[in-house]
C-alpha cells in the first residue's frame, strides 16, 4: 500500500516485501492505515470475542468448565455450518431465507432413512449423503427460479421457508419425534476424539496457516501477494496455535460422570469445511466468479462469466451446508422433532455471517467471517444461558450486538469510500 513501485515488480527485481515496511513498525503503520481507511478486517470481532469470554469467565461460575466448552462447540457447529452457506449467498448480493427449514428437511430425510424396520433403512453415512444431496437439489431448484426466471431471491426463499416448514409439519405432526439410533449420524455431534488425537488435530490446524503462507511465497515469488509481514504472520500463527491447542486442552479436561470428554467431532467438521470453503472462495475460478457477480453482475456477464450458473451453484451450496447443519443439530438431540430447527437458527446464521463482516449488498466478505460470527453469537448465548439470563434478554443482547457490528461495518465502508477517491 505504501509501495512506491509503479506497476508492481517485474521479474528482474525479487520483491521480498521490502517496499512494505516490515517488523513491528510496519505492522503498526499498516494497522493505523487500515483503521484510518476503515479496513478493519476481523479485528473488531476477535476483540469482541475475547471481551465476551473474559466477561463470562469472570461472572458465570460454570462458563469456563470443560463440559460447557464442548457444549458450546456442539451448539455453534450447526449455526456455523449454515452461516458458511450464507456467506456465499450474501457475496452474490442475494439472500436465502429457506435454510432454517432446509436444515430441518436434511434432518428429517436422514432420520427417515435410518429408521429401523421402515423398509428403507440405509447405512447412516449413505443416509447423510442422500440428505445433503436432497437439500442441495432443493437449493438448486430455488436458485434456478432466481437465476433463470428472475424472481427475487427474497421471495423465492421466503416461499421455500413456508413450504419446507409445511413439509416438516406434515411429516411430524402425527408422528411426533423420530429417534435417530444410527451410530454414524449421532457421531457427527457426540463423537469425541481421544486426547492424543485431539492434540494431533490441533497441531495440523496450527501448521496449515504457515504452510499456506510459505506455499504462496514460493509459488508466487516476485508478486505482491507473496509479500509477508512477519510480525503479523507471527501474531496470527500464535493466535491460531493458542486457539487450537487451548480448545483441545480444555475439551480434554472434561468428564461427564466416568466418561472422559475430548475434542468433539462437530468442531473438526466445522474447521474442515471452513478450510475447504475458504479455498473454494479464494483459490478457485468459481470463488472468483462469485465475488465478480456480487461486485458487478453486468461486468461479469460481459466478461463471459455464466452468471445464472454461478447463482444456481451458490444456492445449491447454501442448501447443502444447511443440510449438513441440520444433521449436526439432529445428532445433538439424537432425534428430529417438531421443535426443529432450534431457536432462531435462520436468523442466527445470517447474523453470524453479517457480524463477521459479510456485506448484504454482495461482493464483500470472507468465509472466516461466518466462523468468527458464529463463535461470537454462540459464546454470547451460551454465556448468558450459564448466567441464567432469560431468553428475552438473550435475544435483546444478540440483537444489539448484531446492530453494533453492522453499524461499525457501515461506518468502516464509508471511511473506505472516502479514502478511496
Amino acid at each position: 500500500m505504501t509501495s512506491p513501485d509503479v506497476v508492481g515488480p517485474d521479474g528482474a527485481k525479487p520483491a521480498e516485501g521490502d517496499e512494505l515496511p516490515g517488523g513491528v513498525a510496519g505492522l503498526y503503520q499498516r494497522a493505523w492505515f487500515n483503521l484510518r481507511t476503515g479496513n478493519l478486517g476481523p479485528s473488531p470481532i476477535i476483540v469482541g470475542e475475547i471481551l465476551v469470554v473474559v466477561l463470562f469467565g469472570l461472572t458465570a461460575t460454570n462458563f469456563f468448565t470443560a463440559v460447557n466448552f464442548t457444549n458450546l462447540i456442539n451448539q455453534m457447529a450447526g449455526t456455523a455450518m449454515l452461516a458458511f452457506g450464507v456467506v456465499f449467498v450474501l457475496l452474490l448480493g442475494e439472500i436465502d431465507l429457506s435454510i432454517g427449514y432446509l436444515a430441518g428437511i436434511g434432518a428429517l430425510v436422514v432420520a427417515e432413512l435410518q429408521l429401523p424396520g421402515s423398509g428403507h433403512q440405509l447405512n447412516g453415512i449413505l443416509a447423510m449423503l442422500i440428505a445433503v444431496a436432497v437439500c442441495a437439489a432443493i437449493g438448486g431448484v430455488q436458485g434456478s427460479i432466481v437465476a433463470f426466471v428472475g424472481v427475487p431471491s427474497f421471495v423465492v426463499t421466503l416461499g421455500g421457508f413456508l413450504i419446507w416448514q409445511g413439509v416438516i409439519l406434515n411429516q411430524l405432526e402425527q408422528r411426533g419425534t423420530i429417534i435417530i439410533q444410527d451410530r454414524w449420524i449421532n457421531y457427527t455431534d457426540s463423537y469425541a476424539f481421544s486426547h492424543v488425537a485431539g492434540f494431533l488435530i490441533a497441531l495440523i490446524i496450527t501448521v496449515l496457516y504457515p504452510l499456506s503462507v510459505f506455499y504462496k511465497r514460493v509459488a508466487a515469488r516476485g508478486t505482491e501477494i507473496a509479500r509477508v509481514n512477519w510480525t503479523a504472520f507471527a501474531v496470527k500463527t500464535a493466535g491460531i496455535a493458542a486457539a487450537a491447542f487451548g480448545t483441545v486442552a480444555i475439551a480434554n479436561h472434561g468428564k461427564v460422570i466416568a466418561t472422559s470428554l475430548g475434542l468433539p467431532l462437530s468442531g473438526v467438521i466445522i474447521i474442515v469445511f471452513f478450510i475447504l470453503l475458504t479455498f473454494l472462495a479464494k483459490w478457485t475460478t468459481f470463488g472468483r466468479h462469485v465475488y465478480a457477480v456480487g461486485g458487478n453482475a453486468e461486468a461479469a456477464r460481459r466478461a463471459g462469466i455464466n452468471v445464472p450458473r454461478i447463482r444456481v451453484l451458490v444456492f445449491m451450496l447454501s442448501g447443502a451446508t444447511a443440510g449438513i447443519g441440520g444433521i449436526i443439530f439432529a445428532s445433538q438431540v439424537n432425534s428430529v422433532a417438531l421443535t426443529f430447527p432450534p431457536g432462531n437458527l435462520l436468523l442466527n446464521a445470517i447474523a453470524a455471517a453479517v457480524i463477521g463482516g459479510v456485506s448484504l449488498f454482495g461482493g464483500r466478505g470472507e468465509v472466516r467471517g461466518a466462523l468468527l460470527g458464529a463463535v461470537l453469537i454462540g459464546t454470547l448465548q451460551n454465556g448468558l444461558n450459564t448466567l441464567s439470563v432469560s431468553n428475552g434478554w438473550i435475544y435483546i443482547i444478540t440483537g444489539l450486538v448484531l446492530l453494533g457490528a453492522v453499524t461499525l461495518d457501515t461506518i468502516a465502508v464509508r471511511l473506505q469510500a472516502r479514502s478511496g477517491r
Partner: protein, 263 residues
C-alpha cells in the same frame, strides 16, 4: 498487418433498423492497423449502434463486415473476441470489489484444474501495464474502487489489449475525467496506435479527437457523411459535417438514393 492498405476492419453498407426506425443506413466504415480512427456524430447519429454491430451485441439487417480482408460474421461478443476485437464501454465494466489483477483476468482467469494461478496473472498484468506505460497505479493488488477515474480507464483499456487484440474500440473514454486524467488517457490511446493496434475512439469532444485521431469518420442520422484526414482538416470542417453533412460513399459502392437525409 503488413498490408497497410487493406483495412483491418471494413464495414460495407451496414443497415440496421429498430422497428420502423432506421438507426443505420448504408454505413461504410474502415480502420487500419496502427491507426486511431475517431467516430464522431451528434447524439442519435448511430455511433453506439454501429459499435454494437461490430461487437456482436446487435445483429445488423444488411451489409458486410470484412476483417483482415475476409468477410466474417459476428453473432455475439465471443465471435468478436475471437477475431481480436475488444470494446471498452463507457461504464468500463469493472468489478469495484476486485483488485486490478483480478479485473484484468475477469472471466479468463489463469488456472489449472480450476485452481487460480495468481502469480502468473500478477506478472502478466504488471508487464501489460508497464508496456502501456501506465505508471500511476501504486499497487496492482488494490481494489479498483480505490482508483481514480483515469486509472480505472487505464485498467479497462489494458484489460482490452491484454488478449492479443487487434482492434480496440473505446466508447467515450474521457467523458468522466478531469483535465490531467484526460491527457493521460489520450496518451494511452495514441500509444495503442503506435503499438500497431487498430483503435476506434468514440467521442463528443473534438479537442480529444484532434489530439489522438489519424482519421475521423463522421456519422449523421445513421449515415456516413465524411471521412477526414486529421492533418488535412479543421475542427470547423468536422463540426459542419456533424451538423449539416450530406451522405458520402468511400468504398466505391454507389451511394444509395437519398431519402430526405437533410433537414
Amino acid at each position: 498487418m503488413t498490408m497497410t492498405d487493406t483495412p483491418l476492419l471494413e464495414l460495407r453498407g451496414i443497415t440496421k433498423t429498430f422497428g420502423s426506425v432506421e438507426a443505420l443506413t448504408d454505413v461504410d466504415f474502415e480502420v487500419r492497423a496502427g491507426e486511431v480512427m475517431a467516430l464522431v456524430g451528434d447524439n442519435g447519429a448511430g455511433k453506439s449502434t454501429l459499435i454494437k454491430c461490430v461487437a456482436g451485441t446487435h445483429a445488423f439487417d444488411s451489409g458486410q463486415i470484412l476483417f483482415e480482408g475476409r468477410e466474417v460474421s459476428i453473432h455475439g461478443p465471443k465471435d468478436a473476441a475471437r477475431l481480436g476485437i475488444e470494446v471498452v464501454y463507457q461504464d468500463l465494466a469493472l468489478c469495484d470489489n476486485l483488485d486490478v489483477v483480478q479485473n484484468m483476468y475477469l472471466g479468463r482467469e489463469a488456472n489449472r484444474f480450476q485452481i487460480l494461478n495468481e502469480a502468473a496473472m500478477e506478472h502478466t498484468t504488471a508487464s501489460t501495464l508497464k508496456g502501456l506505460a501506465v505508471t500511476t497505479i501504486s499497487s496492482i493488488r488494490q481494489p479498483v474502487a480505490t482508483l481514480s477515474g483515469g486509472q480505472r480507464q487505464a485498467v479497462a483499456v489494458a484489460k482490452a489489449v491484454q488478449w492479443n487484440s487487434k482492434l480496440v474500440i473505446l466508447d467515450e473514454p474521457t467523458a468522466a475525467l478531469g483535465v490531467a486524467q484526460t491527457e493521460h488517457v489520450l496518451a494511452l490511446v495514441r500509444r495503442l496506435g503506435e503499438q500497431g493496434l487498430a483503435v476506434v475512439i468514440i467521442s463528443h469532444n473534438l479537442h480529444d479527437i484532434f489530439e489522438t485521431a489519424d482519421r475521423i469518420t463522421v456519422l449523421r442520422l445513421g449515415r456516413t457523411v465524411g471521412i477526414f484526414e486529421r492533418q488535412a482538416t479543421t475542427q470547423q470542417a468536422v463540426v459542419e459535417a456533424i451538423t449539416f453533412g450530406a451522405p458520402t460513399k468511400v468504398s466505391g459502392i454507389p451511394a444509395a438514393p437519398e431519402v430526405g437525409g437533410e433537414g
